[in-house]
């Protein structure tokens, strides 16, 4: 199965949006998702801190705003965007609740993808005495940008606590194929569409 730019979560994310929608992509990297969405008729802006990524995003012809993620949303109005995306980044953000609240302030809904630490291979790695390393968790413990380690159940628990509603959920295995059962065990990457109401 081939996926857009080898990012199967992009397929899912793009599938949840329609032409004409506005999108804010937090931690947009070189702007691959924004480029894809713009080709599909969406209007997008990205927030990115790393100068190399920002330059690549400008080269890609997408709108990129160079800013620290955790401070970058303050200037935007309530419900400024139809969607706010945070792909494979939530685990790197220190103030988790704050960013979730901000995403759902500036966006009508938020789309979040993250590596599921409870994926069975990750569990095996820990059982065998080592921190997990995989396509979805491609770092060693000493060089990882990840600061928060959580599972799908953990995330859903936090959403509950914050009054956030899960509108849709897609779970992928390491090869990008859809997981249909035992999600928190068989899912390597989780993609959520969340909002303040159903």
């Amino acid at each position: 199965m081939s996926h857009i730019l080898k990012r199967p979560d992009f397929d899912v994310i793009a599938g949840w949006m329609k032409a004409g929608d506005s999108v804010l992509d937090l931690g947009c990297g070189a702007g691959e998702l924004l480029r894809l969405l713009s080709e599909r008729g969406l209007r997008g802006w990205g927030i990115e801190r790393d100068p190399g990524h920002v330059l690549a995003a400008v080269e890609n012809g997408v709108n990129v705003i160079q800013s620290n993620l955790e401070a970058g949303l303050a200037g935007f109005e309530d419900y400024a965007f139809d969607h706010v995306v945070l792909s494979r980044t939530l685990q790197t953000v220190r103030h988790t609740q704050q960013i979730l609240a901000e995403m759902l302030r500036v966006g009508r809904e938020a789309v979040i993808s993250f590596p599921n630490f409870a994926y069975w291979k990750n569990r095996m790695a820990v059982l065998n005495g080592r921190m997990p390393v995989s396509d979805d968790l491609p770092y060693q413990w000493y060089d990882t940008p990840n600061v928060r380690f959580f599972t799908m159940l953990d995330f859903e628990g936090l959403c509950d606590e914050m009054g956030i509603v899960v509108r849709e959920r897609m779970v992928l295995d390491e090869r990008g194929n859809t997981v249909t059962e035992e999600h928190n065990f068989l899912g390597s990457l989780a993609v959520y569409r969340i909002g303040r109401d159903a």
Partner: protein
């Protein structure tokens, strides 16, 4: 980027306009002139023209050099030329000296045909919108229906922004660099101290110093020294000068003792030797008046609602005259309107003057942005 060459020898040109222009101040110039330069070639579709707007002390000599004065290199030559970020192999680049300037365009030191004497104090205060209208006239003369881009730093960036509001169909991209949507009280305060230094110089003669064959160099020098402090950063000054003293300096007196004093006095003297005091007053006043949101009850997003250009907004971390937060105000207003905008915040020690410096990341971003502009 392959070649990083100079555009080479260039020549100033002159637009003589006999169509009157009525300025925001209510005064009409019956005929007026703009000094300008062009680099590169206007393509057949006339779609590759880029206007460079200058800041407070700038002018039309933006790139290249004059054959009879090879050391007189354009003020943004590090950015503009063949193979440079603003590539003259692709773009037809136009530099212009604004109305009120002192480099060949009609200004206070020009002769007022009504009196046969220099305009002096009678030259009207000009605004950024006035400049945009005059620049649009130049575009007409050059056969440019719409600029591929208007580019400017500081007060020049404000002109680029004003273009998107006043002439939305004649600008496709705006590069707004080290600018602000309006001056703060602190900014205006600095400008007024500079103006007071000039106006209170006994040789200013109410702006009509020309007829006395003198120049208010003391005031102009102080104005420039003050301005210069605000264009640098504290860090950079500390690193470059610190508390270093001149080897020959005495002590317990008021002569030149610290290196920073020597530097500032040198900069002040250099500037006062050639710049027109009335032009300095006009330029600072244009800065103070610039506030496109004013017509929309302070709502910048409303002011930019009709803009159709795409934007690149650039700010520098140590710029405290027009800080990154001020550029973010522009960005937020643009995003609110769902306009296309990229914002780059460049880590630089050089304060406000960083926009003139050759910084690898800064120039790479400008090059990448320009590369994506269709011609």
């Amino acid at each position: 980027m392959s070649e990083h060459g100079s555009i080479g020898p260039v020549e100033a040109q002159r637009l003589v306009c006999t169509e009157p222009i009525t300025l925001a101040a209510g005064i009409t110039l019956q005929s007026w002139e703009l000094a300008y330069e062009t680099y590169g070639t206007l393509n057949a579709a006339r779609s590759n023209a880029v206007l460079i707007c200058h800041a407070l002390s700038g002018h039309h000599h933006v790139a290249g050099y004059y054959p009879d004065d090879p050391k007189n290199v354009g003020w943004w030559d590090n950015l503009i030329g063949p193979g440079k970020p603003l590539d003259t192999d692709r773009f037809f680049v136009v530099g212009v000296n604004n109305l009120g300037g002192c480099h060949g365009s009609t200004g206070p030191s020009s002769i007022n045909s009504a009196t046969g004497e220099p305009w002096g104090a009678d030259f009207p205060v000009v605004t950024v919108s006035d400049w945009v209208r005059a620049q649009a006239k130049l575009a007409d003369e050059l056969g440019i229906a719409a600029w591929a881009a208007v580019v400017g730093g500081s007060l020049g960036g404000m002109q680029a922004l004003q273009w998107t509001i006043d002439q939305p169909d004649r600008i496709r991209h705006a590069l707004v660099i080290a600018a602000a949507p309006r001056l703060t009280a602190e900014n205006i305060a600095f400008n007024d101290v500079a103006r007071q230094a000039i106006i209170t110089d006994p040789e200013f003669h109410g702006g009509n110093f020309y007829r006395h064959n003198v120049r208010p160099t003391r005031g102009l020098r102080l104005a420039r020294m003050l301005g210069h402090i605000t264009y640098l950063s504290d860090d950079q000054m500390a690193e470059k000068f610190g508390r270093k003293r001149r080897p020959s300096a005495g002590s317990y007196g008021f002569g030149v003792e610290f290196e920073i004093e020597s530097y500032l006095r040198y900069q002040g003297d250099k500037f006062a030797g050639w710049f027109d005091a009335n032009t300095y007053l006009l330029m600072t006043k244009a800065l103070d008046y610039f506030d496109p949101a004013e017509a929309c009850a302070g709502d910048l997003a409303a002011a930019l609602a009709g803009a159709r250009a795409k934007f690149l907004v650039v700010a520098f971390t140590t710029d405290w005259r027009f800080s990154p937060a001020r550029s973010r105000e522009i960005v937020n207003a643009l995003v609110k309107n769902k306009h296309d905008v990229s914002y780059i915040e460049i880590t630089s020690p050089h304060g406000h003057d960083a926009f003139l410096m050759d910084d690898h990341y800064y120039h790479a971003v400008v090059a990448a942005y320009m590369q994506n502009i269709a011609t």
